[in-house]
Structures are given as C-alpha cells and as structure tokens.
Symmetry: C2
Subunit: 335 residues, 2 copies
C-alpha cells in the first residue's frame, strides 16, 4: 500500500477536481491509500454517495487555503490552517506518507518541500521538472525549469542524473537520452556554464549523454531529458508553450475566417481534437521536484479531474519504482 | 544616394537569390547604390539582359565563398578571395560604403563586423537582433540573440537603448515598449543578471521600460523589444521557432489524416496560406548587428530573392534614418 497526500486546495478548479481525481484514483489504483487534506465536512459530503474503498481514504481537516494572492514562502510558514501547510506537516511527521500531490501555488509547494521534506543526502539542489509531449508521441522532461536560476555545473550534472532516473522509473524509458540545452551542437558552444557542464556530463558514467540540444529541438522527440539551469529551462518551457498556444490561436482564426473555411474546419474537427489532446497536459501528470526526500508532484494550476488523477497515478508509479531510493543511491555513488 | 554592399554567396540559394534581390532593389529603391561582391563574369551574365539603372550597380570580383563547412572566425581572416572577406574589406576602406547585406554564415558576419567594421564608441558589446512576427501583425525584436552569451547588466542596458532606437528607425515604432526577459512578472524575480538589469532599466531615461516578460509572451504583440543575454535570447528565439514549425507539422498531419480531413484542408487552403505567410521571415528582412560602426544586416540562410530584397530595403531604411548616428549619440549621452 502506498500512502499519498493530496492537497484539496489551490488551482483554478479546486477543490472539486481534487475530490474527483482522488475518487478516480481510489477506484482505479487498488494499491493507493490517500490522505485528502481540506475541509472535512465538504469532503464527507462529496464522498457520501460515492462508490469506493473507504478503508483507503483518510481526511485531514484544513479549513484554510493558500491562494495565488499569498506570498508563497511566507504563506507556507504562517498559514498553519491551510491545506498545503497541513499536508507538508503530515509529510514530515508520518514516515508512511510517501508522496504529495498538489495543484496549488508552485512557489509554496517548492518552499514547503525544502522546509518540511528536505533534500536527499548529497543533492546540491532539487530540480523542478515538468514534462512536455513530443511530436513523436513521446515525452521530454526539462530539468530544471525554475527552482534554481543561478547554477553551478555540478548542479546540472545532478539534474542530468536525477532526470535520467526519473524518465526510467516514472515513464519506463530505457537508457534515456540526456541533452544539454545550448545555442549550438558543437562542444565548444555556449556560455561558461554550458561549456563547463558539457565537460562534466561527458565524464558522467551513469547517464546516456547525447550532447548539446538547441531550443528548437525540444519537441522533436529525439531527447528524453533536457538539462539546463532553471532560468533557461523556464524560458524554454514557456516560449515553447506560448508559441504552441499562439499557433493554435492563429489556426482557429484561420478556421473562423469565412463560411468556406468554417466548412473546412467542420470536416477537420475530429483530427484537430486529436491534435489538441496531444498538446493537453491534462494527460501527462504534473511536474516533479527531483532530489527531495519524498515524492512531490505539482499539477498544473488549471488541472481538471483527469489531470489530478494522472498526478496521483504518476506519484504512485514513482513510489512503486522507488525513484527517491534510486536517486539516493546514485548520489552516494557519485560522492 | 546610399551605398550598400551585397554579399553574393553564402545561404542555401546563393548566388541567384542575391542577384535577383539586388535587381529588385535597383528597380524599386532609386536612392540605393549597390556593390555586389561575387563572381564578376557570372554577375555580368545575369544582369546582361535586365532592365535597371546601370550607374547604380558596381561589381566587386570575388571568386571564392565562405561556406557552412568553414570555421567562421578562421575563414573571415584567411579566405581572402571570398565574397564576404572582400565585402568587409570594402566596408572598412570605403567611407561611402554604409551598409552590408549577407545571407551567409552568421558566425563569419559577426566576426567580420567586429574585426573590420568595429564598434560604435561607448558600445560595450554589439547585439545580434532578429525580429519575429507577432499575432497582432506587429514585430518584436530580440536583443541579444547569440552574439553575447555571458553578459553584465550594463550590456543589457545598452541592448535596450539600441533595440529601442532600432524599432523606431527601422520600423517606425513610436516609443517602443522594452521588456526584460525573465521567469516572472514581479520585480524581484529571476537570476542575478535579471535582477540587476531590472534595476538598471528602471533608471534608464531614454527607453520605455515596461518591466519583465515571460517566454510565452514573445509573440503576443504587447512588446516591441525583448532584452536578454545572447544565450537566453537564442533559447527564446529557437524554441519559439521550433514550436511554431512543429505545430504547423502537426496541423499538416491532421489535414492529411484521411479523405474527409483532406477535403477540409482544401477548403482552408487560402486561409492557411495567409497564416503561413504571416510566419514567413522572407517578408521581414534580416537580423541586424546593433552597435557596429556601420549597418550590418544578416538575412536568413534559406532566404529567397524577396527576403534578400527586404534585407536591402531594411538596410536602406536604417541608413536613411541614421540609426548608427542615433546610437552614437545615445552612447555619448549615456557616458
């Protein structure tokens, strides 16, 4: 049995999507035990008429919530009645609580993880790693995407090792291809950080380092892990997302331009829906904080019930395959 | 009369597209005088039966070319019979040669500019600035996109000033909105470079600083100049381009999926063509090296004739509006 703590608040569609995601997890993942942290009465009302294994759901009462208006690091210290605060308290005090799932404030989740859960011994900096779908219907993980904006090469080397283990344990990718985000393919390219990191990755035994990768290649599907500092990873992630959304906007504009185009759009509806679902993060779980002592999954703020379920399933798979333990081992071997 | 030096070689479709682009410029821009640097006999053969003002075209013979297989910085020093080498020699020795247009090796153009043309007094580092079309049918310039991968805040402050003048002089944008590329909107966000630069830009009088901008906003059309170091600018540019191309690929895949979708695609052809042309850099001139002593325009390697013409027109406009002079003044005021 794997105990997963689920934060009922935070996110645009909370708490309902967290209730529904939890319900689906209880119905579909027999090995999962869930502690749902939120308003007890509200949660009881929701689950009252639902079919599920009651022995695997516990409610931890938390009347308050951390919102996007709160200062994350401050809120996680002071809002002691908030669901996320209580969730992290449980993560710290209950050895059987193995994973946390939240679609709330990223800043608060990262701060809470560092303050309450802590780092795996040997990890210099935990990396916040989202995943993107590729045009080859695969996934690529970006390590780091914002937790560490000023990095040393050794941090990036650890991101590479942790990201590689992540793609193996969470998504069953064998021998993940690890690339360094850079401005050209050649070894001598890039800023000082990239040059130094390249040399370090070349000497790293337990990863499949495939060299430099340019920003334009991230969705091509030829790489499983992109290594970069949190600033560049954030630029890579957001500019890629932004460009995709803007392109969809332009395509939609083209579809709606006139009667003829609207007729064309009608005939294309089915295929365009497929395309949209390929781009939909709701199908791919959340971002993880690699290097934390316990599994932390942060779902997208606008997650729907299915996305919350995917996050819980992702946390379950990571724990089932002992990712944290694998990282712990890799770090001892490294030092 | 404005004398512009055009490199006949480099690029995927050279030299023909450079001949045709030059011809169109001579036919459409009566104030432009062109020195075309390439194989004399070949050029003479091309222009033999064309209608244009012969008094405004000079041929500078250069039998050799710098190719993508050459090491840029090495080639620009040693390949003395190459068109780009000779073009830069002319730029250095002829005071009336005011601008250079090339679709050849970016590395060689940047190296040649630094070695032969030099920097405007007071400019710490020239910035290599491409432009992207926005969804509002405007343009946004990225300063820097790769010339300077390790930067001090003062460099970025100068990029902001030069980029702002560029959008005014080359594209007639009044009071250009200058944003700092960052990982969040708040002033305290970002790495050390971003934080320090933010404070500097706030105090810079002669620009319209609108604060931080995230990677996802670059195509939104709410900003005219994006300020960043060359590494981040390169990631921003390439990941945006890559995502757009991959989306077009997916849309095309959806269109071709089956008979019904193909019929739909047929009805949408006209609108999708419009969309494609909006994304087509051939309509937007090239990237410029801001801070160099003379106007340098680097067209896309796969430029067609129209793109080469647009680059020449762009160089003409920049010279007509005395961009270099404006930057020179701004730098003296700053120091």
């Amino acid at each position: 049995m794997i105990k997963i703590v689920v934060d009922a608040y935070g996110g645009d569609n909370s708490p309902l999507v967290n209730y529904e995601g939890t319900l689906k997890a209880l119905q579909n993942l027999p090995e999962v035990e869930i502690v749902l942290v939120g308003n007890q009465e509200e949660i009881e009302n929701f689950f009252a008429d639902k079919q599920y294994d009651k022995s695997r759901l516990t409610i931890l009462h938390a009347p308050d919530a951390i919102t996007c208006h709160d200062k994350p690091t401050e809120a996680i210290k002071t809002k002691k009645e908030s669901s996320l605060y209580k969730a992290f308290e449980l993560m710290r005090n209950d050895p059987t609580a193995r994973a946390l799932v939240s679609i709330g404030s990223t800043g608060a989740v990262l701060a809470g993880a560092v303050l309450r859960v802590g780092r795996i011994k040997g990890v210099k900096r935990p990396a916040f790693c989202p995943i993107l779908p590729t045009v080859q219907n695969g996934l690529v993980s970006i390590c780091d995407s914002g937790a560490n904006v000023d990095c040393d090469p050794i941090y990036l080397q650890q991101f590479a090792i942790m990201g590689s283990l992540y793609m193996q344990k969470a998504y069953g990718v064998e021998n993940p291809r690890v690339a360094l985000l850079n401005i050209g393919a050649e070894e001598e390219k890039g800023n000082q950080l990239a040059k130094d990191t390249y040399q370090l990755l070349k000497q790293t035994n337990n990863i499949n380092f495939v060299g430099n990768m340019e920003g334009r290649e991230v969705l091509d599907g030829n790489v499983d892990v992109v290594v970069c500092d949190g600033f560049d990873g954030n630029v890579l992630l957001k500019s890629t997302e932004g460009a995709c959304l803007n392109m969809l906007k332009l395509v939609k504009r083209a579809f709606m331009a006139n009667l003829v185009s609207k007729m064309g759009a009608l005939l294309l509806k089915k295929e365009v829906m497929k395309l949209k679902s390929l781009m939909d993060y709701n199908n791919y779980g959340g971002a993880v904080l690699l290097g934390a002592n316990k599994t932390i999954v942060k779902g997208h703020g606008s997650s729907k019930s299915e996305a919350v379920y995917q996050c819980i399933k992702q946390a379950y798979t990571m724990e089932q395959n002992n990712l944290c333990e694998a990282i712990r081992q890799a770090m001892t071997e490294q030092n």
